[in-house]
């Protein structure tokens, strides 16, 4: 067991949490009386060591039931561990799952006061931050309506606003952001970045792997209560994708018909080309990105780029669709298309892998992007997903070949001065 780190905001050593599960309520009493065990033990979390330093943000990912939320509750102090020691310096606030500890009968404004006090703020602090909290939550006049009339997104906004304005040493978020709309999610992420830059620590549980990659310095992969990977977010996310694809540790699996075509051995494939999910009836074998002038994984704004994907089917099928989705560093889809939208049905013969290419002009703002590649049925992956790979590719848009712009896309604007004559003729027409 490591010694607690002296500088850490939060330090966990050998943390374990068990639940006793009783089939019926009365089993608890019978066990007490007969002294014979009548429960089964669920080990939610086991042997977790963790240090979180000021200004550091840590993402916790893992499959459902891996113990992520339990771990956060232990850190937050609303659950007690069975084994190990937790040391926490300073105030911890955040959003745990859904719900915020609000009193639904009270107005938003009254809940700011109550919640603030519960979080350990003084009345002066609450008074000082109140305006900022209301402004951030964007509730406007709803702030005086009872919280029970709020949508879950509105309640989340208020909860987030109070928690972040309580000036914690560590801020904890458990999935809660998923409730908000895209605009507010981005706003929260921005605010959390600011918070981190000011020296705050963040502990984040999320199924949104993109926000973990874009926000966190470090990530932790939990599986069945244990930490099975810790390190750079992108690496841990890749490990997670392998884990839920059921082929943890090796990219090649029995699903690949011949080892030579396995994606992991292709040196030009994107580093993250790992199976996320899908039935595997159709498979993506490799994917590459190249700017036509810039070369692999790089492109300038305005330049044409090609995404090449090698795919195969294991049995004859119709309505196979190949899709790509380009995401920015915040995980927003900047552009997506698929062969169904393009009206180009995919022709694939079982056992005969085939290269396909998407060519397009990259009118995206400079920055880092990732590409999700997927094989699915018909219109969208919800109808049936064969192979879905997040982070299949990453590329950088650097510099402009055309005129610079601000924002996300180049809309290729035209500009001209209207002369008086044409305006006159328009008016008299």
């Amino acid at each position: 067991m490591r010694m607690p780190s002296p500088r850490a905001v939060i330090s966990l050593r050998g943390i374990g949490k068990r639940y006793r599960i009783y089939a019926r309520a009365r089993d608890r009493l019978l066990e007490l009386v007969t002294q014979r065990p009548r429960h089964r033990v669920h080990q939610a979390v086991a042997d977790i060591d963790l240090d979180l330093h000021p200004g550091e943000s840590l993402g916790v990912i893992g499959p459902n039931g891996a113990g992520k939320s339990t771990l956060l509750k232990l850190v937050y102090g609303v659950l007690l561990p069975d084994t190990g020691r937790i040391q926490a310096e300073g105030r911890i606030t955040g959003l745990l799952e859904l719900g915020t500890g609000f009193n639904p009968e009270l107005s938003g404004a009254e809940n700011i006061r109550l919640n603030g006090l519960l979080l350990g703020m003084t009345l002066e602090e609450i008074g000082r931050e109140r305006a900022a909290i209301v402004a951030f939550s964007e509730l406007g006049s709803f702030i005086d309506a009872p919280v029970r009339t709020y949508s879950s997104g509105m309640a989340m906004r208020l909860g987030f606003a109070i928690a972040i304005h309580a000036r914690p040493a560590c801020f904890i978020v458990d999935e809660a952001l998923a409730v908000g709309d895209a605009h507010f999610q981005q706003k929260c992420l921005r605010r959390m970045r600011e918070f981190r830059e000011q020296g705050g620590s963040i502990l984040l549980v999320s199924h949104d792997l993109h926000s973990v990659v874009s926000l966190c310095d470090r990530a932790l992969l939990l599986d069945r209560g244990r930490c099975i990977a810790e390190g750079k977010p992108q690496e841990v996310v890749n490990r997670y994708n392998r884990l839920i694809a059921g082929d943890d540790g090796a990219i090649e699996t029995g699903a690949a018909p011949n080892p030579g075509s396995a994606t992991g051995t292709d040196p030009h494939a994107g580093a993250g080309l790992v199976s996320a999910y899908g039935t595997g009836v159709a498979r993506i074998l490799a994917a590459r990105f190249a700017g036509e002038q810039s070369g692999p994984n790089a492109v300038a704004c305005g330049e044409h780029a090609v995404i090449r994907v090698r795919a195969e089917v294991r049995e004859a099928m119709d309505a196979v669709t190949l899709g790509i989705s380009i995401r920015d560093r915040l995980g927003q889809t900047a552009f997506g298309t698929n062969t169904n939208m393009l009206g180009m049905p995919l022709q694939l013969t079982p056992g005969q892998p085939q290269w396909f290419r998407f060519r397009f002009r990259v009118d995206l703002a400079p920055g880092d992007y990732t590409v999700t590649v997927a094989l699915h049925r018909g219109d969208s992956h919800t109808e049936g997903c064969y192979d879905w790979r997040d982070f299949a590719l990453s590329f950088r848009v650097a510099g402009f070949t055309a005129r610079p712009f601000s924002g996300m896309f180049d809309l290729r604007p035209a500009f001209s001065v209207e002369d008086a004559e044409s305006k006159h003729s328009e008016a008299t027409r």
Partner: protein, 260 residues
């Protein structure tokens, strides 16, 4: 837990049940006022109830009404605090599971809120006593000692049962049944002279509510200091149960949080 939070929780507890009402906090006074009026005035005038052998208020028309109210007011505070503290970890589970709180301190707003209701009621009661000319002595100042002891007893017992109730919800149900029975095993409606001496001795020995209710009767109705036979066990049991409750919550904090 800081004082500002305790104040806020207490205020919310007292006033939230009246949110949306026009009279608001005035309802806090209307309830005890009507009760005192019914018992002291109506009971005395209409029922003509009289109490035997009461040294101070002997012969007073209002003696039984005063007897009833002086036992009821502390009983109401005691049973309300006990019942509510027993349920607190279940009722406030959304708080316990979402906010870091010291569990032992969270329920403190309950005895405090019930104390405020009690103080308002006693002041009204005193006003009615003066208005009816019922003899009041300086002995009533004993309330300043009796009441904190009563609330300590209720709070400690509530914490102990509340810790159990968080794990096994039957405890809370049992408490409400037992409190009802307990009411009738305590000389609130009946007077001690009407029960057989054997039964009376048992109750006087084992029933903590007997100790404080009879002490209130001593100071309000009989105009004497509380008998040491009640005051000493009341003090000892209040301190003991208070500590017991704290220990129970500390010991069961893990399970309480698991069930929140």
């Amino acid at each position: 837990m800081n004082l500002a939070l305790l104040r806020e929780l207490t205020r919310r507890d007292l006033l939230d049940r009246y949110t949306g009402s026009i009279l608001g906090g005035i309802w806090l006074i209307i309830h005890p006022l009507v009760m005192i009026f019914v018992f002291v005035i109506i009971f005395a005038q209409v029922m003509g109830a009289r109490l035997p052998e009461m040294t101070q208020g002997l012969g007073s028309t209002y003696a039984y009404g005063v007897y009833l109210v002086s036992g009821l007011l502390p009983w109401i505070a005691f049973s309300a605090t006990l019942g509510r503290v027993t349920q607190v970890f279940v009722e406030r589970r959304h708080l316990i599971s979402h906010v870091r709180l010291e569990l032992r301190h969270l329920p403190m707003y309950i005895p405090l809120a019930d104390a405020i209701t009690f103080v308002l009621s006693v002041l009204l009661f005193m006003a009615v006593l003066f208005a009816t000319g019922f003899p009041v002595t300086w002995q009533v100042l004993w309330v300043l000692i009796l009441f904190p002891l009563t609330q300590m007893l209720a709070y400690g017992l509530g914490l102990f049962l509340g810790a159990l109730n968080a794990v096994v919800h039957d405890v809370g149900q049992a408490v409400s049944v037992i409190v009802y029975l307990w009411f009738w095993l305590t000389p609130i409606v009946w007077v001690r002279e009407i029960v057989p001496p054997g039964v009376h001795n048992v109750l006087a020995t084992v029933n903590p509510a007997y100790w404080f209710v009879e002490s209130y009767h001593d100071v309000f109705v009989r105009g004497t200091a509380p008998a040491a036979a009640q005051l000493v066990p009341l003090f000892l049991s209040a301190v003991f149960v208070f500590i017991l409750g704290q220990l129970a919550v500390r010991a069961l904090e893990g399970p309480i949080r698991d069930h929140a």
